[in-house]
Point group: C2
Chain length 337, copies 2
Amino acid sequence: MDTTKVTIRDVAHLAGVSYGTVSRYLNGNVHVSNRAAKQIAEAIEILHYTPNNAARSLAKHHTHLVAFIIQVESKSTIVQPSVSNAMAGANQVLGDNGYQMVILIANSEDSTKRITKLVHSDFADGYLLFSMSNNDSLANTFLDSKRPAVRSELGDSDKLPYPAVDFANRAGQRAITEYMLKKGRERLLYICGPGYSPSSINRLKGFQDAMGERFNPELVYYADDWEIPGGELAVVEFQNHLNTIDGIVCANDNIAVGAINQLNRMGFRVPDDIAVTGFDDSPMALLINPKLTTVHQDSELHGETMANLLLDILNGNPVEDHHFTLLPTSIVERQSA
Amino acid sequence: MDTTKVTIRDVAHLAGVSYGTVSRYLNGNVHVSNRAAKQIAEAIEILHYTPNNAARSLAKHHTHLVAFIIQVESKSTIVQPSVSNAMAGANQVLGDNGYQMVILIANSEDSTKRITKLVHSDFADGYLLFSMSNNDSLANTFLDSKRPAVRSELGDSDKLPYPAVDFANRAGQRAITEYMLKKGRERLLYICGPGYSPSSINRLKGFQDAMGERFNPELVYYADDWEIPGGELAVVEFQNHLNTIDGIVCANDNIAVGAINQLNRMGFRVPDDIAVTGFDDSPMALLINPKLTTVHQDSELHGETMANLLLDILNGNPVEDHHFTLLPTSIVERQSA
DNA sequence: CTGTTAGCGCATTCAG
DNA sequence: CTGAATGCGCTAACAG
């Protein structure tokens, strides 16, 4: 535990200067003679000195930390590939700008409560909120405590007055639906994601946009979550319609994979009998047979963009509360549609 | 930024007591009258007071933080399902014991350097090291700086003198190889993981154990990493042997999936012509066709066990430097073998 | 049970 | 350019 608690005074002593000078040296400050600097450097070297984090944070008024909070349901896998990539992107730009990113998991009432406390105790300088659940208690935390934060998802902009970065879900789903239509698939079933998710809702809207008059509310299945079984259940549920439809547009890749698997099991050929599209372009898209035609999104860019926006805020640049930026998506044509 | 910096003094003032009393109250200490407690509680409520983290850490000598450091190559996906589950497990037990777990990503020279500094600055009370790369610079950090740490992987126990928790890789691979043998598959190709990985090496040993005399060093392919392409490359590389072998034992599921895909492409039937086994029991095992027979490991338990071990150390319970615990694995029989 | 005091390790005035 | 002094917000003796 307490090995050799070497403090700034120790190095000052060894270097033969006052510890104020050492502090100046450490903070890259001007006004330190070369001689002093050299001796301090030496002292630090032989003492293996490293400034104490807590003390520094207390004296200055920031931590150089940014917390990437990922909020999920307890049951689901914590880190989806898209989140993993966003983490990597954010970690990179934050690191390049002198911040250390730390990831916190909020997947239970307890952990949410703990994190809420942390936030209020000024644990970090800023927060990146990655929410994949319908629980907004954490979001509210930031509401009244005015901490710098950026969200990963567009929500009801009224309810959540802080900046967000999201993909153009609506436009993306519209585009791939039009792609289906152009291929002559007009009798489309839509498998929607969970209702609490803004992304889910926006993707459904995109589908409607493309379908226009052809949109049939009866041909929409509402999944409970974003997982594979949702797609399987949907196909089972609509088995009586399977002979009259020629395509299924899914809210995400997981669901599409579930749908394809179930379709295969029931003897339908994809895409010959029924074409299927996904959304996300996850690694799974390449594993499933046939390979999934889906909407690609650059998750790393997602993280980078969120981080950059937060950096702006941290730097005092004016950013509107309701500011949001929409990232582009693209269609990846493979075999399933 | 600085909204209403409410401190312990403010609540003391409002509650009409000295701030020493407030501190006692906050630390769940005895020696606080009901009257005082009540007033303090009220004051805290209406002031929205939350103790400052840095100050508390500075005064006490711990942070109530445990860092889960995940070390990966920059290119690879940061969070594999197994890591994600381990995170969840560790997060849960750590949280239950009053610690907040934070995840740090070391995927570049820069980030590794930053994290090293953090560690030396007593950023957290303890560390969980999840290494999936051959870079041991971080591990060395803990060596000379005697911080409480637990590793996820058995290494050269000489080089790395601190406790570790790992799966029984050798026994697991031995078991599934014996399973193959029992099914009459005796002409086996082995696709090994990257050479720097202890797990990789131990799994190979397990294969050898089971094969005994039959082991043929020429029928081993060494992949560069744990990813899918490794399995594909292996099959291509050994295409001249494909008619004489009847099974492939793979170092992990990814590789097995790559092998199966390539085998399918080349017209071989799995498992009829060639049986294939994996290791990890990742979600992918269910997606691939045929479903993968593999070695199951409980990653959540992995995280939990690591956390519990660290907790022991943190609580001052004696734990040998070279202590390690091996977690059991089990065979999951599906279709590929 | 409670007020007072002295640090925790460092940053930052302010003289010099 | 540098030493000394003050405070960051809180904990932990210490008297009372």
